[in-house]
């Protein structure tokens, strides 16, 4: 068996190998293009950018979960900000306790600013961009992650 790997290649075998090799490379190149087929490009998911109402209807100190979303939107003295409630460990939804977020799946705990306190999660919770639409409504964009502490002041 090991002979197969160490013996010098004969002239006639060489031509055979080249023929097969050319065929294999051509096929591989053709198929490589098709590999993109498996990568999704159409996402039948909710839009990542959505309105959550006007700042006037969102009193200071309130914490809101936009319906159907896994995001907590806070309003404090500094302004509005949105923190993802998707656990950075394996994607469960964290619950808000009075001074921390707790993940039910493997017990990771996060500070209210998203930093990891303990558990298997290795990354802080994501912060999302908050802005204002021309109609005066607040907009959360889950497609746009921002640095911790980025606050929208209306």
């Amino acid at each position: 068996m090991s002979e197969m790997l160490t013996k010098p290649v004969k002239r006639r075998d060489f031509l055979g190998i080249v023929t097969i090799g050319t065929f294999a490379v051509a096929m591989a190149a053709a198929l490589a293009g098709i590999l993109r087929f498996f990568r999704p490009t159409v996402f039948s998911e909710l839009s990542k950018k959505y309105k959550i109402g006007k700042p006037g209807g969102f009193p200071l100190g309130e914490v809101r979960v936009p319906p159907g979303r896994s995001v907590y939107v806070f309003h404090d003295e500094s302004g509005f900000y949105a923190i993802s409630s998707r656990c950075t460990h394996l994607g469960c939804i964290v619950k808000r306790g009075h001074d921390e977020f707790l993940c039910p799946c493997h017990g990771s705990r996060f500070k209210l600013n998203g930093d990891v306190i303990s558990g298997a999660a290795t990354r802080a919770l994501d912060w999302y961009d908050v802005s204002m639409a021309p109609d005066g409504q607040l907009v959360v964009d889950e497609g746009k992650k921002v640095k911790k502490g980025t606050v929208f002041f209306a």
């Binding site: 999704p40 039948s44 994607g91």
Partner: protein
């Protein structure tokens, strides 16, 4: 010209001639016709014509390979029936399962058979692998079949994993969400190295698996296709190779002195080789060496028909009875409809993945990818590193195997229990040093430490005994012990928030 009378005669003869044309040989009464029954038939010819008596010993195989096959066959049959009513869409899937369970006549039974059959198949495959290992049946010619076996093992797990999502209930949704994020967990590593921006294999695997960023319609469609079409096809293909190889490797592994161990054939079972063979494989250059002498056959083999077929049928029936009993006694579970906003708490995958889930609760990357890859790589390497000539086809037959197995079992059990107890009681690195660097927190966790301990143990055994086989026995046994304990902990002792509880009725109401 044929008269009307011969026409009638011909019509009368149709049934018997049809049968003759179908079977092309007489009733299986002599050794010759029994052999012909096997090699003239597409479905039977994957069997050998004759089997060694050693291979038929039920204590050698425990029928586990056949049991894996039998459960797969039953799963295919029940699965096709379930497909008549199952609707792979997020809106309809859950209701269609409910319909199958509560409305479709015998639907609940079919669903139960399919669910418990899946469990049986996983158990049978696991035990089968252990039996092949502990009877040292993976050596020399059989090495590649061990690799094919590993493929079958992975495919079996993939089949049950993809099937788990289909009911679209809470456990399904959250177990698959967790697993998809395990697929993404290499990102932990690339994040720690700050290269995720341009190199993100984790994210790519996840989106390809799910057909999106979250578990949704596209994920369900992909999983349904994999579960119902691609994986069954591929696994059937590999099973074909697996069986074919067993034949080509000269049947099941047996010790060199198997004939002496078995003693002479009982009276009256003397094989009859007196009918002159019509062809010999030697002439067709199929076999090396001299072809068998006419009139003198391999004495310790018996015709596959009926001996092997009866044995297989018996195992098939046993598998069927087990599934039947389970299906009549217990219903396959179905939780509430999947809710992407509220995780099931605790969200537990099927039991054979729970050992992994326990590891994952310490670190997503090491538990979900690092340790499993190391384990699979180790399994793959076993036959290529252990080339010792130890007795094959007998349980624990090599020198010192029994004692190493027992010692390793004790060692494996103790270390996994200690390390888990320690973690549950005192926590782990980040609990003591909150600022610890990412990379260290990922790489150094109970799962990887345990793996390291097991490897060191196996190396120690190898150094002590100078035997690769014993080193392999040590690590295989340790991993089995680890798998067992982690699974039990996760099934029995983990409750809401993955906290430790002695008993489920101590779980807080939530």
């Amino acid at each position: 010209m044929a008269s009307f009378k011969t026409f009638i005669e011909d019509v009368k003869r149709v049934p018997s001639e049809f049968m003759e044309s179908l079977f092309r040989h007489g009733p299986p009464e002599t050794d010759r016709t029994r052999s012909e029954a096997v090699f003239h038939n597409l479905f039977l010819h994957i069997h050998p014509v004759r089997v060694h008596r050693w291979s038929l010993k039920s204590t050698l195989t425990l029928g586990l390979g056949v049991m894996s096959t039998a459960s797969f066959v039953i799963l295919t049959a029940t699965g096709i029936l379930l497909m008549l009513y199952y609707k792979p869409s997020t809106i309809l899937a859950y209701d269609s399962i409910k319909d199958i369970h509560f409305v479709v006549p015998t639907g609940r039974f079919m669903r139960n058979m399919h669910r418990w059959g899946a469990h049986l198949m996983v158990i049978a495959v696991l035990f089968h692998m252990a039996r092949v290992f502990f009877t040292a049946s993976y050596k020399s010619a059989r090495r590649f079949n061990w690799v094919i076996g590993l493929m079958l093992f992975i495919l079996t797990l993939m089949l049950s994993f993809t099937g788990y999502l289909l009911p679209w209930d809470q456990v399904a949704y959250w177990a698959i969400t967790i697993c998809a994020n395990i697929a993404q967990s290499p990102r932990e590593l690339t994040d720690a190295l700050h290269i995720t921006g341009f190199f993100d294999p984790g994210g790519l695997t996840k989106t390809i698996l799910l057909g999106g960023n979250e578990v949704g319609e596209d994920a369900l469609i992909r999983f349904n296709m994999l579960h119902c079409i691609l994986l069954p096809l591929v696994i059937s293909f590999f099973m074909g190779i697996h069986f074919w190889r067993i034949r080509k490797d000269g049947g099941l592994a047996r010790p060199e002195d198997a004939d002496d161990k078995l003693g002479p054939l009982p009276d009256g079972e003397k094989p009859d080789f007196t009918q002159a063979p019509q062809k010999t494989y030697g002439l067709m250059a199929f076999v090396r060496g001299s072809s068998p002498v006419v009139g003198k056959g391999p004495e310790h083999t018996v015709p596959a028909w009926p001996h092997l077929f009866y044995a297989e049928l018996a195992v098939f029936m046993i598998s069927f009875v087990i599934m039947l009993a389970l299906s009549l006694l217990m219903d396959a579970p179905l939780k509430e409809l999947a809710n992407p906003l509220v995780p099931e708490n605790p969200a537990k995958a099927p039991w054979y993945f729970l050992g992994l889930q326990e590891l994952v609760s310490h670190s997503a990357f090491m538990g979900g990818i690092g340790v499993p890859v190391i384990a699979l790589l180790g399994l793959f390497l076993i036959p290529y590193l252990d080339k010792e000539k130890t007795p094959e086809g007998i349980w624990f037959a090599g020198k010192g195997e029994k004692s190493v197995t027992v010692k390793s079992a004790v060692f494996g059990l103790t270390s996994v229990i200690l390390i888990e107890m320690f973690t549950i009681r005192f926590g782990w690195l980040r609990d003591w040093m909150p600022g610890i660097p990412q990379l260290i927190a990922i790489l150094v966790n109970p799962g990887s430490v345990l793996t390291l301990i097991y490897m060191l143990w196996s190396i120690r055994i190898f150094r002590q005994t100078g035997s690769m086989r014993l080193g392999a026995v040590a690590i295989f046994t340790c991993f089995l012990a680890g798998f067992l304990v982690l699974t039990v902990i996760a099934v029995q002792f983990r409750g809401p928030n993955w906290d430790f509880y002695w008993w489920p009725n101590l779980w807080p109401n939530h």
